[in-house]
Structure formats: C-alpha cells, structure tokens
Point group: none
Chain length 207, copies 4
Amino acid sequence: MKKKHRTLGRPRKEHGEMPTEDTILQTATAMFLQKGYPLVSMDDVAEKCNVTKATVYYYYKTKAELFTDAMIQLMTQIKQKSAAILATNEPLKVQLFHIAKAHLEATVNIDITAFMKEAKVSLSEEQVGEMEKAEEALYSELEEALAKAMSKGEIPNNNPRLTALIFINMLTVRNAMNEEFKKSFTTTDKLAKHIIDFYWNGLAGES
Amino acid sequence: MKKKHRTLGRPRKEHGEMPTEDTILQTATAMFLQKGYPLVSMDDVAEKCNVTKATVYYYYKTKAELFTDAMIQLMTQIKQKSAAILATNEPLKVQLFHIAKAHLEATVNIDITAFMKEAKVSLSEEQVGEMEKAEEALYSELEEALAKAMSKGEIPNNNPRLTALIFINMLTVRNAMNEEFKKSFTTTDKLAKHIIDFYWNGLAGES
Amino acid sequence: MKKKHRTLGRPRKEHGEMPTEDTILQTATAMFLQKGYPLVSMDDVAEKCNVTKATVYYYYKTKAELFTDAMIQLMTQIKQKSAAILATNEPLKVQLFHIAKAHLEATVNIDITAFMKEAKVSLSEEQVGEMEKAEEALYSELEEALAKAMSKGEIPNNNPRLTALIFINMLTVRNAMNEEFKKSFTTTDKLAKHIIDFYWNGLAGES
Amino acid sequence: MKKKHRTLGRPRKEHGEMPTEDTILQTATAMFLQKGYPLVSMDDVAEKCNVTKATVYYYYKTKAELFTDAMIQLMTQIKQKSAAILATNEPLKVQLFHIAKAHLEATVNIDITAFMKEAKVSLSEEQVGEMEKAEEALYSELEEALAKAMSKGEIPNNNPRLTALIFINMLTVRNAMNEEFKKSFTTTDKLAKHIIDFYWNGLAGES
DNA sequence: GATGAATGAGCGTTCATTCAT
DNA sequence: TATGAATGAACGCTCATTCAT
C-alpha cells in the first residue's frame, strides 16, 4: 500500500495559505454539515485537508472537540450575520426575510438541532454545555429582536422565545421537500417570501 | 454486563410473549429514533431485545432493512392516527390540535426528515424509495385536508403542500428547547395550543 | 424478511423425484467441485436443494461429513468408470485416452488433490482416512493396469504407482491454461490426444 | 493463548528487525500456501506476526490485496530462480532437473493453479489480472527455453506452451502421494530424477 | 509542526450447529 | 421427515486514539 510520503518537518507556508489549524476546522465544518457527526471520520477530514490523521489530532484532542469547535464557530458566525441584519433600520419583517434568505442560500442545509442531537451522545457534558451556550446566543439574538418589536407594538405580544425557535425551525422546512416540490420554487427569494409571510401571519395573532 | 447464556437452538415457546420479530422491530424503532441510524448498532438492538445479533439477522437481512422496515411501520402508524383524526367532524383547527398533541405525547421526538438524511447514505435506492413513499403518504393526508379546507373557504387559499410540510416541521420545535424552557410549558396541551395558534394564524393570512 | 413457508411434515414425493438425501448429496458434490469446500455454505446447499438448512443437517451430521460423503461417492464413480474402461480389450494407450477424455469432458474440472488439501484442515482424522481410502482405490485401479502392462511387456518397467499419479496429475493441466490458450485446442479429443501422447512417450523410456 | 498486550502507539524501533510490512507479507505467503486463501483469516496472519489485525490493514488495504501481493512476490521469486537456472550453459535436461529440485525442496508445496482458483472469486478483476501477468511470466520463461531447445534440435518439435505447463504441473505430483509412498523416495534428488526422466521421455516423442 | 506506526474496540455480516416442534 | 428459531464464534474491515520520531 503505497503512501504519498510528505516531507518531514514544518512545511513552508505558501503564499495565501490558511494556517493548518484553520484549514482543518473549516473543512471539518463543511463535512460535518454535509454528512453528520458519525459519518465523518478523522481519516476523512485528514485526507480532505491533505494532512495526516496525526496532524488533526495535533490540533484537536478528540473528534468530539473538533466537532464542538467547528459547530461553535459556525453558530457564532451565523449569530453575527443575524446580528448585523437585525442592527439595521429596516422593519423587522424585512430583516427576517434577509435572515431567511441567508440561511436558504447556504450551500448546506443546516438543521442545528438535528445535528446536535446526533452528536450529543458522543460529547462530554462540558462540550455539550459550550455548544448550548453558542446555540443560546444564536436564539437570544432573535428573541431580543422579537421582544423589542413586541414592546414597540410592531407585532402583538407573544412568547418571544418560542417564536424565535419557531422561526429557526421553519427555515429547515426545505429539508422535508422532495426534489420535485423543491423545484416548484424557482428562486430562493420566493421560498423565503412564502416562509416569512406565513411566519409573519403567525406572529400577527394575539395569543 | 453479565451475559445471559441462553440455550442453543429453538427456545421453548412461552405463552403471551410478543413474537421475536415484532420485539426487534419495536425496540429498533425506539432506538433509531433516540440515537439515529449510525449510532445504533445491531449489537445494541440485539442486547436490548435479549437475543443475539444472529437472531436479529435471522429476521432482518441487513441493518438498512431493519431501519427501513422500522421507519415505514412508524410512518404508517402516524399516518393512520392522523387519518383517523382528520376523518372526524370536528373543525380543522381542533383536528390539527389533536394531531399535534399526539405527536408531542409520543415518548420519542420524531424528526423524520433529519433521520432519513443521515440514514440515506446507507440505504439502497429501493429502500429510499419505499421510505419516501411512506413519507409522502404521511404528508398527502394532511395536504388533502388542508386543500379541502381551502376550497371550502375554512382557511384562505395557500400552497397546501407547503403548509402541510410546515405543520409537520413545527411539531419538532420542541427538540430545540433547552430543559429549562421546556419546563415552562407545564402540560403538552399548552405547548400544543401555542403551536397550533401560531400555525393557524400563519394559515390565516392571504398570500 | 418474508420466507417461503413450506408445508410441514413429509412432502408427497412427486413422480420421478430423487429422495431428498440423494438430491442433497448430488447438489453438494457439484457445488463443492465448483467452488471448493470453504466457499460452499450449508445455507447455499440447502437453498439450491429447495430445502431448509435443518433438513440438510437431518441427513448429514456436519458439513465435513457431507463433504466426505460427496467426495467418496464421486471418487467411487470415477473409479468405476475407469475400471470399466480398463476392463475392455483395447490396448492400454487407447484405454488411457478414453479415461482422459472422460475427465476432460466433465463439466467441472476436478483436481482431487487440491480439493482434499483445502478441506483436510476441517475434517476429522476418520474422515480423512475414509477419503484417502477412496482416493487410494482410484489410484490402485490405474496402478494395477499399468503394472500389468509392464509385466506383459506392453510398456517398459517403471514405478507403476508414480506413473499412475502422474497420469491423474496430467489431466489437471488444463486448469493452468489461460482462456486464449484453452481455445487453441478446438476439441477435447485433441487435447486428450496431446496429453496421452506425451504421457505415453514418458512411459516409454526406461528408468 | 495469552494475549500479549503491546503498548499503544508507535513502538520504539529496535535494530535488526525486519520491517513489519515485510514480516506480514512473508508470513501471509507461507500461510496462504499452507491452507489456501479462504482458510487464512486476517486475524490468523496478525497473530502469527505478533501484531494486531489493524496493523495488517495498515499495510494492506484488504485481504485480497495482501493475497495478491503475496502471490505475485512468490511467483516473481520463482521466476527469477528459474531464469537464473535457465541462463546457465548446462544442457536443458540438467537445467530442468535443477528447477524441479528447487521446487521440491521448497518447504511448502506450491500448486499455484489450485490456489488462484479458490481465491479468484474474492479478487478484483485488476488483481486477477496482475496475478495472471506474474503467472504468465513464470510460464513464458520456461516456454521460451523449450522453444529454443526445439529450434536447436535439442528436443523434437512440440507445443512449447503445453509442454511448459505440463512441466510445472508435474512438479505438484507429490501432493497426491500418501505418506508411505512419499517415504519410498529417500531423497528429493531421487524424486526429481524420476520426474525429469519421465518428462524428458515425454518430450522426446514426435507428435 | 507534523508524521508514521501501531493499538483495542467495535461494527455489519456470515456460518456451522442445535433444539423444540 | 422436515422445519423454524436461535446461538456463539468467527470474519473482513473501520475507527478513534496513542506514542515515538
């Protein structure tokens, strides 16, 4: 079984190359999103990064840690994007539309909840804790925006936390569509609009 | 864990026992729902059923087949329950409330879509096909009920397929709740009511 | 996993059907010759015989026994055919030609020695003994014919046992041919003739 | 058998040890020759090499690959030995005698053809191809020597390919001998001489 | 900083065999 | 006579992890 022998020692960094640690995290994130925690092996990650498994372990003590780091980074990014959108002066409905569009346009379909669930069995309590904190931050962002809109009377009063969760949840509805039905929405914009309309109406009712 | 050494060969038939084949399917269903396809091993299933792995294979040729059979049975059951509820004379909103309650009361949280995704890599095309058929049947039931309600003017016109998917999808919102927030809904009824109210409002808007 | 349920109890024997025991032995023989001992499973045999594995075990206590019985029967048959040919009045060379032809025409290529070797690991000493007896009988037949020919002066004196073994051995030469070379012998007759000519010349020399 | 628990991770390199990869190949070759492809398990190989199965897989991706590599190496070695002998100035008969002796002196009895057959089911087309190439090289060597001898008039004209195959094939005749008969040849020399005499006579005849 | 070599545990699957019916 | 149900032991293979270099 012939192996490509890489040269030993620290490789000269080529111009514009990402540090190995980041490459690994980036690559791993994409792979986890695509196939889910159990179906991504450390070997897979290493191969795709063009390093050896041992190198991956050099930067991340365990697979669980790699996953945790990857997910936290991802959630933080999402949170920041959402925050940026929610910080604008546009009306809430428009802001939500932009968030929805951003989600739907991401190449991989993220259903954070489903993801976590399948990984949690393998994580340490501490790791679960860290991830939940990041998840929490993500939800809080939205929750606060909704709460503010309620207090301003922009939308009727309702449970802001629940409605935040419902919003994130609704963005995963596309995962349940079969190919044919998916095609009936010619652009992401149209699907986003449908979802936001429905959501906005949902918010509209007193409860 | 002590290994109970059972005797070789065909065991003496005891009365009142569920047939092994059913025990396995039941147990497997619960386990798959709890941990997801990749994290449930045939050994796990066997142990929980108090039989050996070979026995599991006696009834189900492969893990993929066991999964397929389990999921189809599950979806068929859900479909039948939904169908029964939708066949009553109660107004649609009440019917949806009952369906939601039934879902939320099931011990295991079902997010069929997430499940399928992680399993699909391991299934044959035929198996995926079978499961999609069962999934389809499940959605169609609801879709038709919604379409009928629209044509009767009970709710405004909207995409019945999309709204059906949104409904099923919303039932999984609880998965995203942390323990604390979950406790804020003292009964399943209350959570179901919140969800249905939101959903019904969503349906209410013209689009 | 649906199984074809056969009716319980003794099945009515259809006109012209072989007794189950014989069917199994016949089928097993063919399968062992084709694939070798380790690659034929009791399940395979059962399926091809249209009975259950338990039925095979009803007639043959173990796989090793089934193999032993099959091989002994086979060798006995071959011996009898050889004996019949050697009992004719034709000259030895013609007789050998007929034996060679019979071997080469058998659909499956028999290399008894190679066969035994791969099976012997799994057989009991007693079983090995039985098979060697049958093998011995097979070789003796030929050995005696050769010895007689030598004493009659039909061929020069030589080690009759060794020459018998060489004869049987030479019949397996075809197994080593690649497809292309095999085709260069348009008929079995031609190949048999080549082999016999070579062999006869070999016998011809004094030693 | 006590399990020697070796330490995890990369072992300290001791001097003068054969590289693990070679140990495995050597050991595997011997085992395959002794028991045949199906009866040698990767566990067996590993145990005999004093490494774990995982180590075997570290060097050889599959069992089929291990087998292929082992057989090719073996055939190449045999070919080289034969080539060396055939390159000498001695008369062909003497050369053949030396080849026969070398074969018969090898601890393991090689019947390549029988081997391949039982392994082929498990090999990829590519692997079969590689092995057939090595086999071919082995036969060609001899075939050419025979052809040259024929054109020089050292032996009568005959099918050089067929006679080459017969030669290799005859070297396996010892496999068919029972213990008693084997003992009647007090030295390998004597057996080799018998075989070569017979073979040479066979070659001698016109055809 | 990065690698090559090795492990132990587990996984999906097969198989010879056993036993009550 | 023949079967259906079950077992225990292997088998080929993968994977997360470890450690010397």
